[in-house]
Point group: C2
Chain length 336, copies 2
Amino acid sequence: MDYSDREICSIFQDPVREGLDAVEEKLRDVLGSDMPLIDEICGYISLTPGKRLRPNILLLASKSVGGDGESAVTGGMAVELIHTATLVHDDIIDGHAMRRGRETVCSKWGRNVATIMGDFLYSMAFARLGEAGLDGIMKILARTTNVMSVGEMMQFQLARNIEVSEDRYMNMIYSKTASLFSASGECGAITAAGGKSNGSRERYSLFGTNLGLAFQITDDLFDYIAADDRIGKPVASDFADGRVTLPFITAFRNAPDPEKARVRELFHSGFSGRDEWGEVVSFVQNFGGIEYSLNKARELGETAKDTLLSARPSRERDALCHAADYVIRRVDPFSS
Amino acid sequence: MDYSDREICSIFQDPVREGLDAVEEKLRDVLGSDMPLIDEICGYISLTPGKRLRPNILLLASKSVGGDGESAVTGGMAVELIHTATLVHDDIIDGHAMRRGRETVCSKWGRNVATIMGDFLYSMAFARLGEAGLDGIMKILARTTNVMSVGEMMQFQLARNIEVSEDRYMNMIYSKTASLFSASGECGAITAAGGKSNGSRERYSLFGTNLGLAFQITDDLFDYIAADDRIGKPVASDFADGRVTLPFITAFRNAPDPEKARVRELFHSGFSGRDEWGEVVSFVQNFGGIEYSLNKARELGETAKDTLLSARPSRERDALCHAADYVIRRVDPFSS
């Protein structure tokens, strides 16, 4: 995160700073066990905190509907645990050795331990929600976790397929990524006093869906525009893993046959050198993949913000809009 | 299952035959998705049904407290889904190619698909409980799933260690196996009308714990007494995988040093031939491992039955006692 990143993040973090700190404390607290190996791995995981974007959204949604802070903190912990569990299992499947610039659990402790740790983190989320009596949040996250596993399977099935349609891609990223952002908004909204929703449940859920879709698209854009060290993943990892994402899907749709044939060859034969990866990046740039994806992400970000227009004005509602801006801003050279 | 097995099973299945059929139907129903690959694997899994012992216990406990049948069926489906998820992930970790005489999901579709399928099955259990509004059952099973993952990690950590104490073994099999039997009893008990427990929650939970411990011990005894085809697992799999269980732990405690040295060598160097496995079996037999474990299982079975003495007499209560007898009878040459 460079300085301007920090600044924009603080705009949507500050209104719920206390809640975010409480989530952090609860995560540290919850990740203890009687098992030294589990403790060791949990300690390692919590040393590499992300931006806690999902708990952030949950806390903001909750506060903007005047929701119960304690429930929101427990809910925030649960979505972060589920997110982390997903990463741990994802890294097994992708065979990734690095994540956020550090070694993955799978690479450091092996696939077997990573399989068990993912199960531990998932089930810990639900166990703690159950203890806290947060049945509503539990239901939303149970459904969502199932949707996410279907998304993971979709992604697996689309691997090594160069002809993925935009519809299938959008469907897959909804299931895999956006569903948990959607759930974060929804869980925040249902913490409202007396359980009165007044449409906010649907509103914050929809906000999360659109922000989540934008988030995944900008994440996928990184492969084609970012330097190696920026997000801690090796460049070209998705394409090299045999996965096409929106920037490539778009360019492949637009490109003439001879150019298609060349990238098809690179896709199927695999490649190791930076030169060949440079060819793919040029292909995506030349045939409008970057521009189209960026526009799509911008649109989704705007749609996310629009869903909150009908919500009661508040500092927290505005902060959610800043979060949507941030997601786009990560990759958008023209944003202010 | 031979003829007498069928006969004794029907004694505890018959009182809830309708419920068991309903669980089966719900499992078939729930395991559909829009994903062809998920459907294919679910179809494969449901073609190899086990004895549904966990739903059976849940249904019997529920009926014996006059519980709600519909809730018990959904609960029964959930415990079976969780059990199946555990098997799918276990087979990844153990690297087993066969289970119940058929190829495992991991072996047939690979580790990645098995990782995702386990997540799908776990989350499906909770998603359906949430939809049905069975918050109480959801809480019990969330806690239990977490305990099971800790048990799985314990087992992993004890691997390649020949000096496991009986206490650590018992602790591990409680977490890994008995906790889900305990949860099955407890979930059945809380379906009682008006949620009135009158101590039955603790009673059926304790029944499940003891039956579950007996179940795992008899399961572990199979390695040392059964022929290859009887349970569909290759003989000696646990020991060959570097895992010691109660029969071996006992013999190793009793044996003099020279004999210990020999099996230690076999344990650490690994072995391939039947002759060497024969040596280990003789060691366990000669130093009282079989007898001690069998007695322990018998005691636990009796304790399970004793916990139900204070329950209201009913056909279902008696059927649970028969289930406890069955678990022991699987390996006990002296049972009638």
